[in-house]
């Protein structure tokens, strides 16, 4: 499996000793063997990784559509016989607890509220900030930049203790508002980083033309730069949505005692510890948790990945 990347099979002859007859060397036995085995290995890698990445998701959907009795009877089946197909797991997981379900409907509403609020507020705050960092030479420019990088890199578990204490004191722990606030602080640095990369692609000359024509800086930002990077702002918003929707640690610390405020992630993690709820029902919950993210991601994949790795092309 490792041949295309590990240099272990190398001979020690450094950058090729410039043989005179190119034609002969190209057709040499060693090259032909390498080329052939690499061609095969490449497909082995692709197919192997496809199985490894797709199988868990297929298994998730599969289990959510089979009754629990069928799973226990035949655990290794990878197909659903038509007779076994059922949507009852979904009914059960989505129905409210009063109706005998697991209340994921409520969790979805909570997650959506938290994630959408975080997206809107983060963007309102981050767009001007990113513009300032990308274009305006204000005092302390570099320090602010470094601060955001540090805030982006600093791990959640270190932030968790003081925020837990702080939010308990001001009475925001246990409320979705507190969670939204934390998510904003967690996503603004990433958003600024992504938006700055996008804003850098707007030619300065276009903005200067606007300034010459009598627009203020704010006017330039609002009428020229923003419309040009609108799709990228949407992509950044979706990325923030994904972070907020997927987040687990702060939801656990802030909301665990209040079931009516649980997000989908928290709900699934709390309920999956209980022995009474069938695995198939929880798998339906996993699908409910995963599906919105996958739909959002793959509808904007190009934009998102471009923004995230924008620094990498430069080496």
């Amino acid at each position: 499996m490792s041949a295309p990347t590990t240099p272990g099979t190398q001979t020690s002859t450094a950058p090729a000793p410039r043989p005179p007859e190119v034609q002969r060397v190209r057709g040499s036995r060693r090259h032909e063997i390498e080329r052939r085995s690499l061609r095969i290995l490449r497909w082995v890698v692709i197919i192997g990784l496809l199985i490894v990445t797709l199988l868990p998701f297929y298994y998730m959907v599969l289990l959510s559509l089979r009754p629990i009795e069928a799973l226990l009877r035949n655990p290794s089946s990878l197909i659903i016989p038509p007779a076994e197909f059922t949507l009852s797991s979904y009914q059960q997981v989505l129905a409210s607890t009063a109706a005998g379900g697991q209340g994921f409907g409520r969790f979805i509403a909570n997650s959506a509220l938290v994630a959408v609020s975080a997206v809107i507020i983060s963007l309102i705050v981050a767009v001007p900030g990113a513009y300032a960092i990308a274009r305006l030479p204000f005092f302390g420019h570099r320090q602010v930049n470094a601060l955001f990088l540090a805030a982006y890199l600093f791990p959640a578990i270190v932030m968790a203790i003081p925020l837990f204490v702080l939010f308990t004191r001001v009475g925001l722990r246990g409320s979705l508002v507190g969670l939204i606030l934390v998510y904003i602080a967690q996503t603004v640095p990433v958003a600024i980083y992504m938006l700055r990369n996008y804003l850098d692609t707007v030619p300065v000359a276009v903005e200067e033309a606007g300034l010459v024509d009598g627009l203020t800086r704010i006017g330039v930002l609002r009428r020229i730069s923003l419309p040009l990077v609108m799709p990228s702002i949407m992509a950044t918003g979706l990325f923030i949505f994904m972070i907020a929707w997927n987040e687990f640690l702060f939801a656990l610390l802030f909301l665990v005692e209040r079931r009516e405020s649980w997000t989908v992630s928290l709900g699934l993690s709390q309920l999956s510890g209980s022995a009474e709820i069938p695995t198939t029902v929880l798998m339906a919950g996993s699908v409910v948790l995963t599906l919105p993210i996958l739909i959002l991601f793959f509808s904007t994949e190009r934009l998102l990945t471009g923004g995230l790795t924008a620094g990498a092309e430069k080496g």
Binding site: T5, L78, P155, A160
Partner: protein, 320 residues
């Protein structure tokens, strides 16, 4: 544009006005980051030196007397070094595995083929999907009673007993007549990390590969370099800066990873990494001061690793 009353009105230069606008546009972001990141971080240092129980956090005076008791507690039990060791193995294994698989994947899909977009998208799935959902699926698949992995292992590969991948601390494996102890649950967690984060490396490496110029590779081909030689001497050196960046980022994040381990094993069976210990100090022992002290130790190790990295970069004469 407003002028001071005593001076004759004058127009500021564009860059002066820009600097003002810059600060104005920046300030909301700055305030949020200061209030919810920087201030809590400083406060966390204070808490680490105070006796603070979970029950008291609503009422305690934030400036109560300072003590070193928390650090004595964190260091004394011996659990610290065990957990830091586990964290180190876990981090090194995960970072190597995820970057290795990511490089393999990026090289494999480098040249166009039918269905390349689909393969690319599929490779990104583990990274994008919610961590709670994917850990739950892994736990179900590895379940000793009805998990598909053990089922297939027993029926197809002839395993005598199901392997409790996530709840067994150690098992002895016989290989070439010798017996090796291997940490089952820790290795499973590392495999999970490799699976979940290889797309991150894959994305960055693909972006870099696409930006490489074809000329040097063509020149190598003309000079008679074999495909593996081209990779080793032409492509890999150009990828090295990205790989270094990936290694640093993944090390920082994995070293402090909480969600994955907590959701997979709960920190049991020899997977008690340092971040899980922070959580246990907070919720099980209900000792906020000790939790803060433990997280401070983590932060210090992190800053040290960053410093070493910066030092190495500086010595190689590179700019960050």
């Amino acid at each position: 544009m407003s002028a001071l009353p005593l001076r004759p009105p004058r127009r500021r230069t564009l860059s002066q006005r820009d600097a003002r606008t810059g600060i104005a546009l920046m300030s909301p972001t700055l305030i949020i980051v200061l209030a919810v990141v920087v201030v809590p971080l400083l406060w966390s240092i204070l808490i680490a030196f105070q006796q603070l129980k979970l029950l008291e956090i609503g009422t305690a005076n934030p400036f109560r007397s300072l003590t070193l008791a928390n650090f004595e507690r964190v260091f004394a039990s011996g659990g610290l070094w065990v957990s830091l060791g586990t964290t180190l193995v876990y981090t090194a294994g995960s970072v190597l595995l995820s970057i290795g698989i990511g490089l393999l994947a990026a090289m494999a899909v480098r040249r166009p083929f039918r269905g390349r977009n689909f393969v690319r998208a599929a490779f990104l799935l583990p990274y994008v999907a919610p961590v709670v959902a994917v850990t739950f699926v892994w736990r179900t698949m590895l379940n000793p009673q009805f998990g598909i992995v053990n089922e297939v292992g027993q029926s197809t590969f002839g395993w005598a007993d199901p392997i409790p991948f996530l709840s067994e601390a150690q098992r002895t494996v016989e290989f070439l007549g010798a017996q090796f102890p291997i940490p089952t649950a820790l290795l499973t967690a590392i495999a999970f990390e490799g699976w979940r984060y290889f797309p991150f490396a894959f994305l960055f490496l693909m972006a870099r590969l696409e930006a490489l110029s074809a000329e040097s590779e063509e020149a190598a081909l003309v000079d008679g370099a074999s495909p593996l030689q081209t990779f080793r001497y032409i492509i890999l050196p150009q990828l090295m800066p990205v790989i270094a960046l990936l290694a640093v980022l993944r090390t920082i994040w994995t070293f402090n990873e909480f969600d994955d381990i907590f959701l997979l094993t709960g920190g049991a069976a020899g997977t008690g990494v340092a971040s899980v210990r922070v959580y246990e100090f907070l919720t099980v022992q209900r000792n906020v001061g000790a939790a803060a002290a433990q997280s401070l130790v983590l932060a210090v190790v992190l800053v040290l690793m960053l410093a070493v990295y910066l030092f190495l970069m500086r010595r190689r004469g590179e700019r960050l």
